[in-house]
């Protein structure tokens, strides 16, 4: 049980950190740029919200199968399989939690007052300094919400990680799957403990999100 919990936490933490990096440019272009294919990109980012997790898991399995280009490239570099591995689960989680990272950041970026962006321009700022000095400090709350939601959502995965990870004990068996198996094996006491821990974790993460959302993040000048 402890193993599964640790794997879940590792998966959620790794996914969240990587997602913040991946989501930043996506949120930036969706917030500020108009281009051909914008709607398609927005839909692609939002898809995991409505897709059955098993469908997502199925496609991820196809992408990382040993005979796929990604699977074989991974195998030749790391000498291991992506399918039914922790890394494979990370990849699947990135896709699965993508909207939970991108959308709060995108909304926060959009809420940055236009005059602040104009101010940045008059100071000669290009994209990078603008992000560093103006957009990200102004969107701190949105970035924190993105991190908290990504973490909580990844902790709660079931279908995707089951398909991609395969529930290998001490390797890819995460807490949510462990709970399912405990109930199946009628180990009620352990199941109750694990369920309570997951409930408490989710409660804490959501409390963080709601307290950030309630606070005025920046006091207008």
């Amino acid at each position: 049980m402890l193993d599964a919990l640790i794997i879940s936490l590792q998966l959620a933490l790794t996914t969240t950190l990587l997602l913040l990096v991946v989501a930043l440019p996506l949120a930036y272009v969706l917030a500020f740029k108009s281009f051909k294919g914008r709607t398609a990109l927005e839909v692609f980012v939002a898809l995991p919200l409505v897709l059955p997790p098993t469908v997502l898991g199925y496609y991820v399995l196809l992408i990382i199968a040993p005979d796929s280009w990604l699977g074989s490239a991974w195998a030749s570099v790391f000498d291991s399989s992506l399918a039914f591995s922790f890394s494979g689960m990370v990849l699947a989680s990135l896709l699965y939690s993508l909207p939970f990272a991108v959308q709060p950041m995108q909304q926060a970026f959009r809420a940055v007052p236009k005059s602040w962006l104009e101010l940045g321009k008059t100071r000669g700022m290009s994209i990078k300094p603008m992000l560093r000095h103006i957009i990200l400090p102004a969107s701190k709350g949105g970035v924190l919400v993105a991190a908290a939601l990504s973490f909580a959502h990844t902790m709660g995965e079931f279908g995707v990680v089951l398909m991609v990870g395969g529930s290998i004990p001490s390797e890819t068996k995460v807490a949510s799957i462990a709970l399912f198996e405990l109930v199946e094996m009628q180990q009620q006491q352990e199941a109750a403990q694990l369920a309570l821990i997951l409930l408490a974790l989710s409660f804490v993460m959501l409390s963080v999100v709601y307290s950030i959302n309630r606070k005025p993040l920046v006091v207008g000048s």
């Binding site: 104009e118 008059t122 100071r123 000669g124 700022m125 103006i134 400090p137 102004a138 006091v219 000048s221």
Partner: protein, 221 residues
């Protein structure tokens, strides 16, 4: 000499502004909605417009060739009618925003002249409207811009400090030796500061040549 001939249409406003100016102070007055702010924004490159603009021998806009120098490269000092300070930075950091290795002596000179030295460690939330406005003025001057664009920079100042600020601003403009365009509803600003006085009506610019000596001692009641 600086040349300007710019037109743009924004909502119901048809801006049509043609003028020449030297490294001097130009006060722009006119009714609300006459296009004063739009003119400043066109000069800053913050609005799309057509025509020609040449500042200090450099082309900033040329619709014939389709050239538009982006705001980031114009090196302008812009003061918005509201202060536009970043709320998470103190006054000092706001003034220095985006500048590395600035001129310390000039910083002190600007802060002394505009009476913001005692405010430097305060966050914008702890500044009065007038103080915030002076900080934003100091921020625009600190970068030693090639053009100063001020949208009602004294609107929130008490009458006594307004008198001192006029002289201070004039001295700073002379030290920089740059053109300064200032939107103002205060007739005294035009009387005391203006070397050219432009009036705007329904988007059209009408120039009035000033004949009185520039160093005339202020006479106020």
């Amino acid at each position: 000499m600086n040349h300007m001939r710019m037109t743009t249409t924004l909502g119901s406003l048809d801006l049509d502004a043609q003028a020449e100016f030297a490294r001097e102070i130009i006060v722009i007055s006119g009714e609300n909605g006459a296009g004063k702010t739009t003119l400043l924004r066109c000069l800053a490159g913050l609005e799309d417009c057509q025509g020609q603009l040449q500042i200090a021998g450099n082309v900033w806009l040329d619709s014939v060739t389709g050239f538009v120098k982006p705001t980031e490269q114009r090196h302008i000092g812009f003061v918005w009618s509201d202060a536009v300070l970043l709320p998470w930075l103190d006054a000092e950091a706001n003034i220095m925003l985006g500048v590395k290795d600035g001129d310390v002596a000039w910083f002190n000179q600007v802060c002394e002249a505009l009476e913001v030295s005692p405010l430097l460690k305060r966050k914008p939330a702890m500044l009065s409207t007038g103080e915030a406005q002076r900080v934003s003025l100091a921020r625009a001057l600190y970068i030693k811009p090639s053009l100063l664009l001020l949208d009602e920079p004294f609107s929130a100042q008490a009458p006594d400090i307004r008198l001192r600020l006029r002289q201070a601003l004039k001295a700073l403009q002379q030290a920089l030796d740059i053109p300064m365009l200032m939107v103002s509803h205060d007739a005294e600003d035009a009387q005391v500061l203006a070397q050219q006085h432009w009036r705007m009506r329904e988007g059209k610019l009408m120039s009035e040549v000033k004949t009185k000596p520039q160093d005339k001692v202020m006479n106020h009641e």
